[in-house]
C-alpha cells in the first residue's frame, strides 16, 4: 500500500521543514521517498492547507501499573461514563480505562507514550496494562534507587562496573526503556519512619546519601550507553523552597546527562508573606546554563485530578490535603507510593502560583529541544487537558485572560504577565516530536525522514489552538489511518519499546541468591520473558 499525503504544510524540525508545503509518502508502515511517478499511489489524501507533523510523543505520563489502576478504583466518581461505546471499539465508553487512554491519545495525534514509573516487582502488571492500551506505542521506565540490592552494593563499596551490571539486569528484568529515580532512598528512609530526605541526608541503615545513589545510577546509565538519561524525580517535591533542591540536583549531575521530571513541582521558592513563591526564574536559568539537563514540566491545570507517585514521603505528607478526603499509601518490595486526589483551584494562592510556575518554566527555558510537554498525568492534570496547555503556550492573550481570573496575588507576583513569548508550530513540533524521540533514543520516529515509522498527525489550522490540537484531522499509526476528523476509526495493537544493554551475566548468581534469601519469589520468575508476554497478553516488545 502506497499512500500519498498531499500538499500539507509540513513541520519536521529534524529535516528543517518549517511549514513548507509538500508531500509525504508512506509505504507499508514506513515513510518512503516519492516515487518517480506519483500515479503509483494506491491512495492519495489531499491535505492542502492542513498542518502535518510526525506523531507526538509523551515522555512522562502515568498510564499503567499499580498506582494508576488503584487510583481508578479509588475514584469511580471521577470517571463516570457519559456515552455509550461505539460499535467495533471495545470499552470506548469506559473513561480512564486502558482503551480510553489509547483512543484519546490517538485522537490528539499522539502515537507513543512512556509510563515513567514501573516498579520492578509490578512490571508484569504494568506490561499487561500497556498491552491493553490500543493504537499507541508504549514504553516504561524502571524505578531504581530504593532497591535494597542496589543500596547494599553501594554500602559495600561495589565497583561502578557492578552497579552498571545491576542496572542493566534491571532493565532486562523489567523490559523497560530507561530508569527512573524517585527521591533516591526516600521510600527506604520512610520505612525507618523518616518523613523527609534531603539530597545530602543519609539513608538509614545504608550509610550513604541520596546524592550518592543518584550519582551511581546516573553514571551507570551513561556508561551503559542507554540513550535516555536517568529520569529524576527530585527530593523534597512539593515543598516551598525546594527550587534549591532542584538546583543542587542539577549541580550534582556534574555535566552528565540528566532528565528532571515534572520540574514545576520543585520550582518553588519560600519567599513572601505566604512562604511560597516562584522559583521558575532561577530554575530556568540553571537549565539554560547546563546543556546536559533536560526537563519536563508537569504543568498544573485547574480542576479535579488525582496525584499518584512512588514518592511515598510526599504522598504521605499530602494526605491532609486530599480532596475528596481519602488517600492510599502503600509499601512494597523496593519502593512504595501513594494516591492522593486533589482539586487545583484557580482562586487558591498556591494552586494559581503552581499553574503560573509551570507556564513560566515553559516560556523561560528557551530551548524546545530540552523542555518537554507534560502534565505528569494525572498529577498536574489529566493528559486530556493537553489541548488547553497548547493554547496557553501558543496564545499570550489567552494566558492574560486567565491571569485576570486566577488568584489576584498569584497573578501579581507571577512573571507570566511579562512574558511575551508564544510557542510557534515549529517549536511545538520540536518539543512534542523531534526532541522526545531524540531524548528516548527512538530513532525511528519523531521525524518524517525516509525510513521512519509512519506515525503522522495532521491538524486543521485554527485560531483556537485547543480545538486544533484536541482533535487531529488525520492520524496514521504505522502507516495505518487510525483517526479521522478527531475520532478513532480503526484499532490496531501498539508495541512496547525497551532496551537490552550488555552486562556481565555473572551478577545473576548473586541476585538469585539474594532472591532466595529475602524474597517470596524466584529470580527467574521475577524477570519478564518477552515470549511469555507475547503469547499471553499480546505484548510485542521492540528493542533499541
Amino acid at each position: 500500500m502506497l499512500i500519498r499525503l498531499k500538499g500539507a504544510q509540513i513541520y519536521d524540525p529534524v529535516n528543517e521543514l518549517n511549514g513548507a508545503p509538500g508531500d509525504v509518502w508512506v509505504r507499508d508502515g514506513y515513510i518512503c521517498a516519492a516515487p518517480e511517478n506519483p500515479a503509483e499511489a494506491d491512495r492519495t489524501i489531499d491535505l492542502e492547507g492542513r498542518i502535518l507533523m510526525a506523531g507526538a510523543i509523551d515522555i512522562h505520563s502515568h498510564i499503567a501499573g499499580g498506582n494508576v489502576n488503584n487510583a481508578r478504583l479509588l475514584l469511580p466518581e471521577q470517571h463516570l461514563a457519559e456515552q455509550a461505546r461505539r460499535p467495533r471499539f471495545p470499552f470506548s465508553g469506559a473513561k480512564w480505562s486502558g482503551s480510553d487512554t489509547g483512543y484519546r491519545y490517538a485522537e490528539m495525534g499522539f502515537t507513543t507514550v512512556v509510563e515513567p514509573a514501573v516498579l520492578p516487582i509490578n512490571a508484569h502488571q504494568a506490561h499487561a496494562e500497556l498491552a491493553d492500551i490500543p493504537i499507541i506505542d508504549t514504553a516504561g521506565l524502571a524505578i531504581v534507587g530504593n532497591d535494597d540490592f542496589l543500596l547494599r552494593m553501594l554500602r559495600d563499596g561495589a565497583e561502578q562496573a557492578r552497579i552498571n551490571d545491576y542496572i542493566a539486569w534491571t532493565l532486562h528484568a523489567t523490559q523497560c526503556l530507561g530508569v527512573k529515580v524517585i527521591n533516591a532512598g526516600g521510600a527506604t528512609a520512610f520505612k525507618f519512619n523518616e518523613r523527609q530526605l534531603n539530597l545530602d541526608d543519609e539513608v538509614p541503615m545504608y550509610g550513604m546519601t541520596s546524592r550518592a545513589i543518584l550519582n551511581a545510577v546516573q553514571r551507570a546509565v551513561v556508561q551503559l550507553g542507554i540513550a535516555h538519561p536517568v529520569h529524576v524525580h527530585c527530593n523534597n517535591l512539593g515543598i516551598p523552597g525546594n527550587v534549591n533542591t532542584a538546583l543542587d540536583t542539577i549541580k550534582a549531575a556534574d555535566g552528565l546527562p540528566m532528565h528532571l521530571a515534572h520540574v514545576q513541582f520543585y520550582g518553588y521558592g519560600d519567599e513572601g508573606d505566604s512562604g511560597f513563591s516562584s522559583g521558575a526564574r532561577a530554575l530556568a536559568d540553571a537549565v539554560m546554563a547546563n546543556p546536559n539537563i533536560t526537563v519536563d514540566i508537569g504543568q498544573v491545570l485547574f480542576g479535579q485530578t488525582v496525584t499518584i507517585s512512588g514518592d511515598i514521603m510526599r504522598q504521605f505528607d499530602a494526605r491532609h490535603i486530599a480532596n475528596p478526603k481519602k488517600w492510599v499509601v502503600w509499601e512494597g518490595e523496593d519502593g512504595g507510593g501513594g494516591i492522593v486526589p486533589f482539586r487545583y483551584r484557580a482562586k487558591n494562592y498556591v494552586n494559581a502560583l503552581q499553574w503560573a510556575i509551570g507556564l513560566e518554566l515553559f516560556l523561560l527555558i528557551d530551548d524546545p529541544w530540552r523542555v518537554f510537554f507534560t502534565t505528569d498525568h494525572p498529577n498536574g492534570a489529566p493528559f486530556t487537558a493537553y489541548p488547553e496547555l497548547f493554547k496557553l503556550l501558543m496564545d499570550r492573550q489567552y494566558r492574560n485572560q486567565w491571569l485576570e481570573s486566577i488568584n489576584a496575588k498569584s497573578a501579581d507576583i507571577s512573571l507570566l504577565r511579562h512574558l511575551e513569548r508564544e510557542y510557534d508550530l515549529n517549536e511545538i513540533a520540536i518539543m512534542t516530536r523531534a526532541a522526545p524521540a531524540k531524548l528516548l533514543g527512538l530513532k525511528d520516529r519523531g521525524h518524517l525522514s525516509v525510513g521512519a515509522i509512519a506515525d503522522i498527525a495532521v491538524y486543521r489550522p485554527q485560531e483556537d489552538k485547543a480545538a486544533m490540537f484536541g482533535n487531529a484531522e488525520l492520524v496514521l499509526k504505522n502507516g495505518v489511518p487510525v483517526v479521522e476528523n478527531g475520532r478513532v476509526i480503526q484499532v490496531i495493537q501498539g508495541k512496547t519499546h525497551a532496551v537490552a544493554p550488555e552486562f556481565d551475566r555473572g551478577i545473576e548468581s548473586a541476585i538469585s541468591t539474594y532472591f532466595d534469601r529475602y524474597h517470596l519469589m524466584k529470580m527467574d520468575n521475577y524477570k519478564l520473558d518477552p515470549q511469555h508476554l507475547l503469547e499471553t497478553v499480546g505484548s510485542e516488545l521492540v528493542f533499541h
Binding site: L73, P76, G98, N122, N193, A322, K326, G332, M521
Partner: protein, 388 residues
Amino acid sequence: MAYISCPFCAMVCDDLSLPLHNRETTTPQFGCNKADQGFRSALQATRQTPLIDGEEASWEAAMKQAGSLLKGAKHPLFHGLAGDLLDSRAAIRMADHFGGSIDHLHGDAIARNLRIYQQSGWQISSMGEVRNRADLVILIGTAPEQLYPRLREKMLEGSERLHGDVPPTIRELGDDCLDLLSIVRARLAGKPVQQDIADSETLIGQINAASYPVFVIAPLPEQRAELIVRTCVGLVRDLNETRRSALLMLGAGDGDTTAQLSATWHNGFGIRTCHAKGYPEQDLQMQAGDRLLQSGEADLLVWFSSLRCDPPPAVAQPTIVFGHPAMSFTDKPPALFLPVAVPGVHRRGYLHRADGLRLVPLPALRESPLPDSGALCDQLISQEPRRC
C-alpha cells in the same frame, strides 16, 4: 532448576518443582495440600469435548450454541472468574461486547473491601514487606493456614530478614476480635472506653513495642468483616501519625485480585459493573451476581472457572460454563459446558499474588488440546456482532 508457579491459592508461590518421570508428570507432592490437589486434579483431567445439556457435542456445535444463547440473552451475567488474567480478560471483554454484568465468585468480599477503600482509602503493606520488615503480625481471620498452607513458612517464620534475623511476633486474633480492636484503637487514641478487655493491655503493649506492626487480614465471616476491616483501617491510620503500621489484605484466592484489577483497567471500575447500557456502570449492591440471578434480572449465567472444579451454582437461568476439565455435575448439567485449559498447567498465564503488587507468570506444564477461554471468547465476539 526450572520452577513452576502454583495458581491454587492466593499466595501464588512460584518455587515449586514438579517431578518428571520419562517426560511424564508424576503424581505431585509439594508438601502443600492446595498445590497437591490443584495440580493433581488438572493433570489427571481428561475431558476435552464440550457438553450440550450433558451430552457430548462437537466444538463447532457447542460454539454455535454458545453464540445463540449469548445473542438471545437480554442481560447475561459473566460470573465466577475463578481463573487467571487471560480468563478474566475474556470475561470482561464478553461483558462489554454482549452488554452484560461481571462479578466474581468472592464478589461479596471484594465489594465490601472496595467500598471501604473507596470511602476512605487505606495504608497497606505487601507480602514481601511483612516477610522482611514486620516485627509484629496481628493475624486476623478464619483458619488462615487452611487457605494459605505455606503462609507461615513463606511469610511469617523466616529468620533471614533484610535488617535482622528475628521473625516477627505473631498475635493471632481469629475472627471474633472486633471489640478488642475497637478498644485498642480507642485507648491508643487516648479516648475513654466503657468496658475494657484484659487482652487489650497486652496487644497495646505489643503494638507500642513494635517498629512495624502489620494487621494481616484473611477472609472473615461476612457479618463481622466490614467493621473489623474498618477498625483496622482507622487503627493503622492513627498509628502512622507518629509511627509506622500497615494493613495487608490477603483475599481468598481463586483469581479474586486478578479479576478485580484486570477488570479495572479494562472498564475503569472493576467487578460488579454492568455494560448493558453500552457503558460501564458499577453498583456494588445492585450488580451482585447472586442478586441478579435470584431476582431474574440476569437471564443467562456465563460461569468462568478454570482453576476450580466445583460446578456453578444451580440457578433457573440457562448456564454456559467455561470450566476446569475435571468439573463434574451431580445435579442438572449446564446448558453448555466448554472445557478450557487450566492456567499454569495446560497453558501459560498470569495470576496476581494476594497483595496485588505482583502478577506472577504461570508456565505451561504440558501440551494440551484444551482451548483457553480467551480464544473461545474472541471467537464468540467475532461470530456475534454487537447489537448496538
